[in-house]
């Protein structure tokens, strides 16, 4: 649009929504439907951007707001996960290992290898960095999609000059 948009507040609000909804147990299952909460965060960011600018936003503005909200959401997911790692993180990793055990034909020796790793020193730091990278990529992609959807929903259409209505047919001559 004009390059003067302020994305800060919309991105923070959208990112908070997408990040928090993605980490609350049970509710976070909504993300299984095409990353629903991330898309919702992007749409929310565009809603607030449109409110700021009286609906004068382009799809590019929406995409940018959605992308930034996705990045904020990824940071929030990482922060919440890093706080909860001492309580949940290692349990979640063991859950992943349990899932792996169900596959027939898993390469031998891997189970012991992972078990050894889980008792290692840098596991928490590695988890935080990996989650930040992966969720940063995924949240920004689906946030952008949400932003585009939001711009389609909330951007006001440009008023165009309309042709005047056709003249009524001439009245039949009175005899």
């Amino acid at each position: 649009m004009n390059g003067q948009q302020n994305y800060f507040k919309p991105a923070i609000i959208g990112g908070l929504a997408s990040g928090l909804l993605s980490v609350i147990p049970i509710i976070s299952a909504g993300n299984c439907v095409c990353c629903l909460w991330v898309v919702v965060g992007g749409v929310l960011a565009v809603y607030f951007l449109a409110e700021q600018n009286q609906g004068k936003i382009s799809p590019g503005d929406g995409a940018l707001a959605g992308l930034l909200s996705g990045l904020v959401g990824a940071c929030i997911v990482t922060i919440v996960l890093s706080v909860s790692i001492p309580f949940l993180g290692l349990r979640m990793l063991r859950h992943q290992m349990d899932q792996m055990r169900r596959i027939p034909g898993m390469p031998g020796g891997i189970e012991q290898f992972y078990g050894h790793f889980l008792n290692g020193r840098f596991v928490i730091l590695t988890i935080i960095i990996a989650v930040l990278i992966v969720s940063g990529i995924l949240f920004s992609i689906f946030g952008t999609l949400g932003g585009l959807l939001g711009s389609a929903l909330f951007a006001k259409k440009q008023q165009t000059l309309q042709a005047p209505p056709p003249l009524p047919p001439p009245a039949p001559p009175v005899a």
Partner: protein
Amino acid sequence: MVKKSASEWTIEVASLRRLLHNAFHMRFRKHLYVIFLIGTMLCPAIIWLLPFLLQRSPFYLIARLAFSALCHQQPDRSFVVNGMLMMVCARCAAIYTGLPIGVFFCAPVFKWVRKLQPSKLQSERIPISPGGVAVFISALPAAFELAAEKLGFPTGNLSRFFATFPFGTALGLIAGHFLRTTSLETERTIVMTGALRQLKQGSVT
């Protein structure tokens, strides 16, 4: 040396901030399509290649944990690649794989759509957009597959993948089209602004 007052400093800082904001904003918008394309290409690369690259690495488990915020990762609904479970389920894998294909091929596809003259297809009473129709039609196979699964028909990971793949591709096509248009418009604006500045300075005759 002339000392500047506080108000002058405030104005200078504000103009510098505006300059930086505009430069970042315009450059970022100009490359938005390419950034999105790279991002979408990273997703299938990660999910298809990690089971090969990290088979003997503990990072595999951590990568799976990182994807767990966005997918249920049920083992019976995920592909097994190289003896390892994929990072995401078959349906998510289809969306992640279809997205970059759609983004990459959006330009020729929309060129072809424009030849069809979509304005003739649009109704005056019902506002139908070609993009909306494309997403709706592409979601139908996934919906039928889901319904078949719920009704007890035999389905598998391959049917889940191929039924959802068109939906991912359609999403990529539409997102790619909008982002490409934005990038091209921004580039045009930058060129026009530069030309205007040159005209003002009188360097262009």
